[in-house]
Symmetry: none
Subunit: 211 residues, 4 copies
């Protein structure tokens, strides 16, 4: 009944249509930004991709810049929501799970993340707001985790900062080819195996255990 109401209320209907259009524009723009970069994509390109007149876009976004910002913001919020799992980071299985969850979030918005990466590479503001501030807490939690494990004798004595950085490095490096589009995104099963492998390599290293 409530649903019916929502569906029929004209204001709400209009709102949903606007949101749908905005989303269509963002998707088309993200795709083009990902392939040609922000600067290499014109409003005309985007308009053609969503099959609208150029000037129509301006009814949904105040300008090209804002389309980009909407794309970045939307994606950041998505990933943010998955970072609550961070606090569950207690042992190896939870570690695997964390990597798996974040990977899933990034992969399911591959294009948006490709755009963010490209933009953060050039634009300091984007780097700061959309990347650094988001990943700093992750770094902190990782460092704490490593510090505790090291103190407890579970991990070898190791510089927590360096180790945390290299964990993230491994993670990013593993995703890069997928983000770049030269490799197909892994299926959920492949992804889980990958997460396991990353953690195993990180924990155990390459070298065979003696004895």
């Amino acid at each position: 009944m409530i649903e019916e109401k929502i569906i029929s209320h004209p204001e709400a209907r209009r709102n949903r249509r606007v949101q749908r259009q905005r989303r269509a524009i963002m998707d088309a723009a993200a795709d083009l930004f990902a392939r040609s970069g922000y600067q290499g994509t014109s409003i005309k390109n985007i308009a053609e991709a969503v099959d609208l007149g150029e000037s129509t876009l301006y009814g949904y976004f105040p300008g090209k810049q804002e389309i980009l910002m909407a794309i970045l913001t939307q994606q950041v919020e998505l990933v943010d929501s998955s970072l609550v799992h961070l606090n569950d980071l207690k042992d190896r299985p939870s570690f695997v799970n964390l990597i798996d969850v974040i990977m899933e979030k990034i992969i399911s918005n591959l294009v948006y993340n490709r755009v963010m990466f490209a933009e953060a590479w050039l634009n300091d503001e984007v780097l700061k707001v959309f990347v650094i501030t988001r990943w700093l807490p992750v770094m902190d939690i990782l460092q704490n985790f490593i510090y505790e494990k090291t103190s407890a004798g579970v991990f070898r004595p190791i510089d927590p900062k360096l180790a945390a950085r290299m964990i993230i490095a491994t993670f990013i490096g593993a995703l890069l080819p997928v983000l770049r589009g030269i490799e197909l995104p892994p299926s959920p099963e492949q992804r889980h195996i990958l997460s396991e492998s990353i953690v195993e390599l990180l924990f155990e290293g390459l070298a065979a255990r003696k004895g």
Copy 2:
């Protein structure tokens, strides 16, 4: 004799001056490309940076695109020359050394590599010619190295492809902040320590070895 030739032969002198100018243009352009991207840099920007008229640039390069290509090519040749060390990859010290050498090459041409990264992120042709084809042999040699060590029981049984990929991932991930310019390039000493740490983590992992 060689000197005389170089100094006196007018053709050679002219050639050297041209090369010097080309190089100056490439340096200025690379710096701008690194900060603002290829598309975000105009011929005018470059011309001002080298203190030449815009149209003068066209005496040295047929167009903007070719300046970029010259930058990428030049850098690739530099790194190529350091990949001959690859064949020395035999044991852990040589591994550390290899990483150190490649890092050094990349860091000493930070700007050029930042440009290459940005461009490869968008341009498939650049990715293929300047990145993939260059790193494929590295992958091969790494995989072989790991396969041999695994066979010899020095390394744990592990998928060589996955392991090779993660080694490179770690390497790239570690360099990314420096390339991006949010971290100062390490001094030679720091770089050596970093190389050691990477290798140690890769070989030994995080987990403490059981007594």
Copy 3:
């Protein structure tokens, strides 16, 4: 009875509402035209000022141009109605009164007149229809008045055309700062004094009378 008609007849009620809206639009538009010019004012600006949707305006006027024309026409009719006093122009007091009345008409529609002035400055058609044709009879009557006074020896021998022109010049010059908005419109008292002063200066001149 009239009231009943007005109140009850639906067609009339509708008509009155339409007229009220048209007038509201014209007022808002005139204000904006006066401050930003016709070209510098957009339909969107006007719509916002009357708190209507842009497309709604087109229910009241066929286009932007017609809003301007309605503004000009309306104002001209107002001033026209005050020019009947012209025929009363007989002596100095009636002269003062005439100037006072016209001033009052213009000042009480300051904004509209500012628009007319701006538009007539650029648009020949507007100049002709809304300014010249309206002021030509005034010129005629003034010339006749001066001619008669000159013939009667009341005025010095003077070219009536030149004198008439300068009377109007004085008048316009005195109003200009008010129209432009850099001076507050005079109160009725101030206006009357100003009218007197203009006439006195015109009649008596600056120079002291001998003897």
Copy 4:
């Protein structure tokens, strides 16, 4: 010899060509601004009028706004230079002469002044910088002149401020039709007669002197 040098010096020659082009653009732009207003004139219009590509204009002016400013500034400087005569204002002949000189300056740059008038009508900044600040000293000198003559009994007792204002009003009113383009500019002879007439009317008034 120096002249020859100046003529042949390539830098100077280039400079003169640039100035000539700038002037041609300003003239064409002023003409269009005068007829269609600043907002009603497009860069394309101006470019066509000087028979250049649109983008070529940007080699001479940073933008449309700057073309307008150059026009206004140039004209203001011209008139400024003639205001030095103000200090000679001592008696009636010098008064006539002053009006004649200023008129001449304005008429010889009719189009530029028409533009200034139109722009000052809408733009407060233009009004302030290019009109008010220029004419304030004139007002002062006029007021002083009138005050002195009044004190000396040469002029009737009269409010100097009001009188000064009306003198300028008469002056502006007389020029308006010429500026607007509905009247041909007077020949030097006509102009001189007009100046005389204005002054005579101002000094003597319309009314016949008794006795």
